[in-house]
Subunit: 342 residues, 2 copies
């Protein structure tokens, strides 16, 4: 390897496992020296760090779909980064990549975990949003599970978020009716006025279930579940025969610490599954990478260029503000894809 000066990184590590909502003491900021990249590795400088709800799961020791982050280790995140020094033949210094750089200013990563950012005329940050993991989650889940048809009705929870807004716009592009559920009048107006949803329902409204019913006169064919909680409850009686329910997140439950002491809703859920011949399917987008990634990049870039796939970013400046931004994300305070600009 070429001679290389050491590089330092400022990083945020998991200081303690949160009980319920993370707090300031969940996180600790450190400075560390990074080694030069070995063969196959890249030294990168992070430019944008993606904060996503699934990260709450990594902070717990409990079984989830990914391994927990060990205490004292840097919190994981996908990042857009510039290659500073390359030990991998496919990459050169100065190139922009999407990789798993974590909550830090610089990182040494395996080259096989990096991908060149396509030259599609869009801002580099979209590689973490509409053209990255959230956009792909929407695309693959609709292709494999939602399979919405023209004339059908889709309801998506967390509709103003990066996954939900893509899901709704994909439904519109397929000729279906899109109904979004979001928190607050501003997000609801955005869904209808900016993204072209047919209707939006504020889950904070007292008569939420009635409003949702009014917005879904022909019932619901696809319910995109990424929240959990009361949205699902209001959706259940409206689901049509052969309804589909892609399940890609449970953000409302990520902070839960025990079994809620309310009446058991599982029997009612299973009755709906049986009575309406529903398909409920959990998934993580990695399952569909090999099959759909290339088509996703092409289709999504085209929809964006045609103005049929809009996106919104919520960019927070400064790594030091990541913990507070993440806590706000779990509480629904952000509006658009949450990114840290390093």
């Amino acid at each position: 390897m070429a001679f290389s000066a050491t590089h330092s990184t400022t990083r945020i590590v998991l200081a303690e496992r949160p009980e319920g909502t993370p707090t300031a003491s969940t996180f600790r900021t450190e400075t560390a020296e990074l080694p030069a990249p070995a063969d196959g590795q890249l030294l990168v400088r992070n430019r944008y760090i993606s904060l996503d709800p699934y990260m709450r799961g990594r902070m717990s020791a409990a079984k989830s779909y990914a391994k927990p982050t060990p205490l004292g280790e840097v919190l994981p995140a996908e990042t857009v980064a510039e290659v500073v020094e390359s030990g991998h033949p496919d990459f050169a210094a100065g190139q922009l990549v999407a990789t798993y750089g974590g909550w830090q200013s610089a990182a040494v990563v395996p080259g096989k975990m990096a991908r060149r950012i396509a030259d599609n005329g869009l801002p580099e940050s979209t590689a973490l949003g509409v053209l990255g993991m959230p956009g792909f989650t929407a695309y693959a889940g609709m292709a494999e599970i939602g399979r919405i048809q023209a004339g059908e009705t889709l309801v998506v929870a967390a509709a103003a978020g990066p996954v939900g807004s893509a899901v709704g716009q994909l439904a519109k592009a397929a000729g279906a009716r899109a109904v979004g559920v979001a928190g607050g009048a501003e997000k609801c107006a955005y869904l209808v006025d900016e993204l072209g949803f047919d209707a939006a329902v504020d889950h904070r409204s007292a008569d939420f279930a009635d409003r949702l019913k009014s917005a879904c006169r022909d019932g619901i064919d696809v319910y995109w579940e990424n929240v959990g909680g009361k949205v699902l409850e209001a959706v259940l009686p409206l689901l049509n025969l052969y309804g589909r329910m892609p399940v890609c997140g449970m953000v409302a439950q990520y902070n839960a610490t025990g079994v809620p002491e309310v009446p058991d809703r599982l029997p009612g859920f299973m009755r709906a599954v049986l009575n309406q011949s529903l398909t409920v399917r959990g998934f993580i987008q990695t399952e569909f990478r090999a099959k759909h990634w290339d088509g996703f990049q092409q289709d999504m870039a085209r929809l964006v260029a045609e103005g049929r796939m809009k996106y919104r970013e919520d960019v927070v400046e400064g790594l030091e503000n990541a913990p507070e931004a993440f806590i706000g994300l779990l509480e629904g305070r952000n509006f658009g894809k949450l990114l840290i600009k390093v």
Copy 2:
């Protein structure tokens, strides 16, 4: 139409909608005169009446996957019957058919709702069991949803029943491991000794969840859900990645009158769906009739002939005993496909 004497039928009608478990006053026995069959109709004499858990749903006014039986009307059931007089060109007097003759001694039915019983060398009653609706439910649900592979593990609840026993034997025929859940030592012994299940677990045992875990060392790939309740709870932590859950019945809930006051298990269920990328799919066998019925008749008759698909019937003599037999069915007191011999 040819001249025809009137025929009388003894029938059991829905006297009142049961709250919880049906009782004697749910039912009323009547005698009525039947008209001669009109064009397209058949006058049939029922020989066997099939009693099935789904009938509990028809007794309630609540929304289900089929319309409720109106008060005062004869309770619906599939039957094996002899054609007494035919107004349909495809049928002649003396032929045996499977049709929807109801809880009565004779009926006038549409010819299009009848099918000739295939001459396959098996007793006519099998047209209501292993070669009828229960057997087809198992066959179609495994073909379309369970899709079990050699080396995988299946768990089926109500395993000694007509659907469950067929499901387990289909899994064995596919080279998979079959674990049955049933109530009591006699049924469990039957599953292993007679049907060739790899293991059986008594859901009445105090350490049921531990026993199930011991019987499923490699986890569970397919859980066939036709019961609801505590079996599902014990299954959830054992399900493997990409597990499938065909849902074709909720017998444990059919008598439920309200929302159970226990901790809410829906969040835990949805977490399992997400973490393990599960597929949960409700279905009624009619959905798959056109696609799979002919293959079912051939495959199942062959498996029976080869001794790889055994079945058991619980035949109760006398229409007057149908109500008590049905109540026992909901409580798991029968052992084998419950039939009334008229």
